[in-house]
């Protein structure tokens, strides 16, 4: 039995319920949905959401209003659906998506630990395992809906997500080589003198593209291609279940933006902000970098049309995987030059 002091219990509650636990991804989802709608609207020369919320005509609370509206709606289960799996899939999707933030360290603590809900030295492996679970939920949901569009969408999702997991794992390999650790906090520590984006630009591009494909965001939103498949694997979902599916998508975005920040942009590294405790300034730097990554990922939806599934798989297997492998080779060959640069260890 582990003895927890009062301060530790308070800290645990703070972590689980507020940051980076339950409240943070939800808040992130709300802000990002609002920002995405508003920003894409500006690119398209529209105004975007307008009426709901405080401040004059910003529509700040529009995502929450949409969420409330969706919760009120009737849940329609198709007659021929496999009901158990059909009802389970959205809950599972949201749960699995919200799991990964538990393993991501957001700042160092003054006493030498890290601000993370569950610390494990193999956190990178756990995150990868969580990511592997997603295609099965999609296939399950698509198959259980028993609709043709859903089935095609689920198959596309399986093809796409499985194909793009390989380049992610490969380019993470070169990161692990570099930082000599599976521990996410150690990976950040090792970037104290130079960020990995400078040392591994190829790996960064590979990860950015593959993560966007993993998230099925445009231009890679092939599984939910509206013009071809109505809405892909979640076509039949309504009401709360649809809301869960949408929220899980943004939970994943939150995790992915954190991970890219952590792997390549030096996590919480940054000049200390005066008058603010170092832990808080670390969190602020982390969130700032996360915001930039999120904007880049979101912009893809306004700028590029959707690809086709065969082009996507073609590019995945024939370009990204060789590129990631080349990155590993470069990392190994040039070891003598970068070794002094990498801190922590």
């Amino acid at each position: 039995m582990i003895e927890l002091s009062f301060a530790e219990i308070v800290e645990l509650i703070l972590k689980v319920l507020i940051f980076p636990g339950v409240a943070f991804p939800l808040l992130f989802a709300v802000i990002v949905i609002w920002f995405e709608r508003k920003f894409l609207a500006r690119i398209m020369l529209r105004i975007g959401p307008l009426h709901v919320g405080p401040f004059n005509r910003t529509g700040l609370l529009q995502p929450i209003a949409d969420f409330i509206k969706l919760i009120q709606k009737e849940i329609i289960v198709p007659e021929n659906a496999y009901k158990f799996l059909y009802n389970l899939a959205p809950i599972l999707a949201a749960l699995v998506a919200s799991l990964s933030v538990a393993f991501i360290p957001y700042a160092p603590k003054p006493d030498g630990g890290y601000w993370v809900i569950f610390y494990t030295p193999l956190s990178l492996l756990v995150i990868l395992a969580i990511f592997t679970a997603r295609p099965f939920i999609m296939v399950g949901a698509g198959w259980a809906s028993n609709s043709k569009y859903c089935t095609i969408g689920a198959l596309r999702a399986a093809l796409q997500l499985l194909a793009y997991e390989v380049p992610i794992v490969l380019s993470l390999a070169s990161i692990v080589i570099m930082s000599r650790s599976f521990d996410l906090s150690r990976i950040i520590e090792s970037q104290s003198s130079i960020w990995f984006i400078v040392l591994q630009p190829i790996g960064f591009i590979v990860i950015l593209i593959s993560m966007m494909a993993e998230l099925s965001r445009r231009p890679f939103d092939i599984p939910v291609a509206e013009q071809e498949l109505v809405f892909g694997w979640p076509t039949e979902y309504t009401g709360t279940q649809f809301a869960l599916v949408m929220v899980s998508e943004y939970y994943d975005l939150c995790a992915v933006a954190s991970l890219i920040t952590l792997f390549f942009l030096g996590g919480w590294m940054g000049p200390a902000i005066p008058f603010i405790p170092p832990m808080l300034s670390g969190i602020i730097w982390f969130l700032l970098k996360m915001a930039i990554v999120t904007v880049v990922i979101i912009m893809g939806r306004g700028i590029y049309p959707r690809l086709r599934i065969d082009q996507l798989l073609d590019a995945g297997w024939t370009v990204l995987i060789p590129l990631a492998t080349i990155q590993i080779l470069i990392t190994l060959v040039t070891a003598q030059w970068w070794l002094p640069l990498v801190g922590g260890g």
Binding site: R218, P219, A225, P305, R306, L307, D310
Partner: protein, 357 residues
Amino acid sequence: MKLSMGPQHPITGHFRFILDVDGDLVIKLDPDVGYTHRGIEKLAEKRTYPQNLPVIERTNSYCDSVGTMLGYLEAVEEVLGLEVPERGKYLRVIAAELNRIASHLYFLSLGAVATGFETMLMWTINDRELVLDLMERLSGQRITYTYPIMGGVRFDMPDGFKEEALKRLDYLGKRIEDYYTMAAKNHTFKMRMMKVGILKPSDAIRLGIVGPNLRASGVKADVRKDEPYEVYDRFDFMIPTGKNGDSYDRVGMRLKEIEQSISIVRQAVKDIPKGAFKKWAPYIVPKGEAYTRVESARGEFGYYLVGDGGIKPYRLKLSPPSFRNLIALPHLCRNVPLGDVPIIFITLDLIPMDVDR
């Protein structure tokens, strides 16, 4: 697996396609038309000649209503032996070309949305508003103008129309550069459009494809040049043609045609003659028949009119361009990925009301 796409589907409008799907591959496409059949040819027999104007217009209302009506008016005027005043002809050309620009902008927006490219959709729809507003000043309506009437046009050019039109066309011309950067030169867009739905020139002629789709295949055919109606022979414009006949060429064709239409409108507003813009047209049309064809935004629109000396047409046969182009759809959609079906469908510029009449 049989997949029924439409009539309630994000992209197909009021069509239904019955697809033979094998995984993600479409083996055969079967278009199922008739959801918007209104029997316009029969309606036309029950109405007098002027009453037919709004009806004929609605074969193709939301895109190219002036282009659609011109042919009917040409046919009626041919049977009547009526000569339209010069100014009326110029105004008809201005309206038709502005309408062609609006229609092609609409096409571009749909073509972009077939690949999930919402930004281009909004940009083109926004800029279409400029043209619609110009048409509103000219005709008093935004979509269904009923602007040309027998013996001329309905209204004269309003004050300040020329300056406003020139200003807006200048802006549109600049804006097309943005479209080129954003869509036509966008790598992802090219990837989706190039080599998709290749229509060979020989196939295009054999299937009887008309309009920009035919020109995209490299065949130079345009009624405005081949058999000039109204005053098209006085303007200096060229007919762009494509090289490969794929979807990318069909999109590029519309962009180039917008440029040509802009130049035609510029010339027309500059040297429009003074004088009457309409002429009194008799109510009773004598016995006789006429076949006319015009180049609407979607291609050649044919009209066959038989008058029996009464106030109503004896028979009016329409041969709309979308109906002729529809035959290319099953031809092109053999063994294509499912993702290409919306692109081929949209770039052929088929609209259901035009097909069904």
